[in-house]
Symmetry: D2
Subunit: 284 residues, 4 copies
């Protein structure tokens, strides 16, 4: 689905011994074998619109332009590896992290097929344009009690993690933005006794009440803007402030889908596992 | 606008000397003079729908039910005091934090008057119901370069802070959720030379690119669910799991507006000031 | 033993409900009822030798001189309260924190009586001088496995905590400074099988090996300098840099003993409890 | 001076671009080319006395025995690289970090030559024994105002950093342990006006007062126990608790000197630089 070939090999440096984790930090390195600095040479003095070029240059006074540098979404690849470890541990506790593309541009669905997605992306690729999307994540079987009441609410830390992903512009949990349009009598989740277990009849809350998980599915959505690297000329300025027209070379994706999907799941898995560990300190 | 009278007096305990801050932590205490535990007595064994009662009870095995306990939005009052200090410091740097109610239930506007707001809230109060809302915040004149590129992005920390506020269910920056529906050629912000200063022609990014502020207005929105304390009977369970009908007594707001407005501003002010201090460590 | 009367009353503000901790932060306030700002009025423009006056003034550009301000050892009183809670929790796990004065000036003993201590202090008080001391602490029955291998070693965090106490100038664990004079064949602790339990024959390590507790007594010492407030004239400079002679008024202790003893225990208790909670996250 | 040949090559992975730091984390890797797992094969089921074998095994239930694993002092090598960067930055501010061996076993001096040190170490090597030592560090020209008044005192963080080094058993600043034997009239540092600059006549404080640097030399000492790997038979137990005699193979140092010297300097440099950056946030 992506025009770039990046056969990523993970070399583990520490934390594993005879196939098991040792409790030491798991260090690993993924070398970018497909990077061509020459692809980026013509960008070194130009600020790409809606990229981090300008803000990095202003903040640090220096900018490593190759491969998009530290602002590249490739820097989230280690999070996917870490998330894979987290997901294994969660699975051993019966906890699952799932996600779905629910919106691409103007098209929304709860059950896009890969073919449908590829067809939409192709259309934008042909138009030399890019497109935004929304991913919905669900964390299933998380225990009651994850999250701290004040400054480490589960939903706040999850929002932090999701807004950390490149191109994320919005985060919702449960009813999300729609909750602003609702009345309390529609939005409240009545408690019920479900065969001896206290649950909620509905899940407008998205699995979190008062910042703490309540045992229901944790349902959230993250909205991503279109990828800013367009295959069409764009007006911008260079590092000296001269107006110029930018024509981006190289290979670029049309949408953060499909690459972003495992990142959303990885981030959700790490947040959940962190809180599970933290909860162990809850009582002596 | 609120039926509860809570004449809050702040007693400062440390950090001020002869009218000036000393650099020591500013400790203060605000005693809740209007709390009547009896108002909450009938709630002590019941889980109020969409409140934190159930999650607190499950997490801690004990619950201080008086005044809603630690889950009460009153616990954010100290943030308003802290935010007031932050806003003074920001003002000395020419930075302003503003906010507006932009949506209450199904009604949206960029210029609600207080009368209009009160009229909407009255309607819900009469119907013994509550309603959600959306607040838009704008941080003006923040310098370029606030925020860290990876795990402390400005937008991620701002999202964390906003989702920390009771009842928040969604956070957006710039185009926010709408960005998912856009194409890159519409969503990108072209750089221009504005009389020697590099700026963007549009501000779809909402003042943040690559997690770092770019000098444009920082524009964000926070969606809040309706207040879950309804003046009408609700079905729920008690602490033993018995089904029961809850009738909430006491004085309760209809909407987090207007109380939440200064909280949003306070949180935004603290995040901005934190990053301004952090930026000082950017270079030696 | 102290000439100052400071009948400290603790008012608890949060975290307790019907006599039990709720899991919320335990906030409390201890008002200094015996402070007379006038006692310190003549110090406001003078830098007391070996006090924090000069460094605070230089760091902050302002100084709250009353009662010694934030540099006063009184600011450690809340640590004693927090330590008292920690000690109760530790006791429920069979863990004890003990301490002894082992040196005052040139006199050392492992079994000073209170009378002996008071006699030594009286002598210095009569000479209008002050004196240093060393406290030895022992943490008994701490479990194996407290402490992290790299940057949160048990001994490193304990050293941090002890050097946080006003007037502390040195920290030792196990053989401490004397270890530098030893040879390996004398200093190593041989492992033995003590009725099925692996223990060490000696405890030169002081209960910590590789930064992690090994189940033996954790034995440490903290050396404190003499209290710098002397009842005799001292040469110094004022805030303008003028040479002046300082005569301190008010009531001042001769030695950090006995006040420092509960502080050492409190700090040790908090460090131990923190690591016990942290250890709970050790394995899933 | 060491029998082990470890030609360490540093490969930088990030944070440098065209010879300059970019503000991104500086990641690097040093591969241990001289490690022979077979040297450690016979240790895998035995607890070496006064090593971290037992505590790691108990804490994690698994142990990577090769090369001493994570408890090896080799794991501090990255600190030396990081310290080298810190020292360059400090040097640009005129700040120097120096250190000296001041004690090896029973011999003490402020001016050991390399030959003298080697002669002492040879003697212990011939006796198939090891020996402890004390390193003195001096930080010169650090500005006034480094360190926070309460829980991040300069001396406390420095102690934490030094006690993090393998084999450290004691830390002193200024008069250190000796302060316990002194009287106030001898230990206080009188302030003087030294040509318009406020300084202290003596430096018993070791450059820190009230947890904050006062502009004088920061003088500290760290005591290290003898290296626990002896070339002579030692009694111990194996992982099943059986008594056994351990004969360590491989190449082992006699004393943490000389390897520890650059580590002490590196740690001191990092602490100092951290506080210099932190101080930038001191005032707006």
């Amino acid at each position: 689905m992506s025009a770039r070939k990046e056969p990523d090999e993970v070399e583990f440096l520490s934390g594993l011994f005879e196939g098991k984790t040792t409790g030491a930090p798991i260090a690993f390195i993924i070398r970018n074998k497909d990077a061509k600095t020459s692809d980026y040479e013509n960008l070194k003095d130009v600020f790409r619109p809606s990229h981090a070029d300008f803000t990095y240059q202003e903040k640090y006074g220096i900018r490593d332009y190759a491969g998009g540098g530290r602002g590249s979404a490739r820097t989230l690849l280690p999070c996917v590896v870490a998330g894979a470890v987290a997901k294994q541990i969660l699975a051993s506790q019966g906890i699952e992290v799932l996600s779905d593309v629910v919106q691409i541009g103007e098209e929304s669905s709860e059950s896009f097929t890969n073919d449908e997605i590829e067809r939409i992306l192709s259309r934008f690729r042909e138009e030399k344009d890019t497109v935004g999307c929304t991913i919905q994540g669900i964390i299933k079987n998380a225990p009651v009690g994850l999250g701290e009441p004040a400054f480490m609410k589960f939903n706040a830390v999850l929002a932090h993690a999701m807004m950390t992903i490149n191109a994320a512009k919005g985060f919702e949990i449960g009813e999300g933005l729609h909750a602003a349009r609702m009345r309390g009598s529609d939005c409240n989740d009545a408690f019920i006794n479900d065969g001896g277990k206290i649950r909620t009849l509905t899940n407008h809350s998205g699995g979190v009440q008062g910042g703490i998980t309540n045992g229901e599915d944790i349902v959230f959505r993250v909205a991503f803007k279109p990828i800013p690297s367009l295959m069409q000329p764009q007006q911008t300025v260079d590092i000296q402030g001269n107006t110029t027209t930018l024509e981006i070379q190289g290979r670029h994706d049309v949408c953060v889908v499909p690459r972003v999907v495992p990142i959303v799941e990885a981030m959700a898995a790490m947040v959940t596992l962190d809180f599970i560990l933290l909860k162990k300190c809850n009582k002596i």
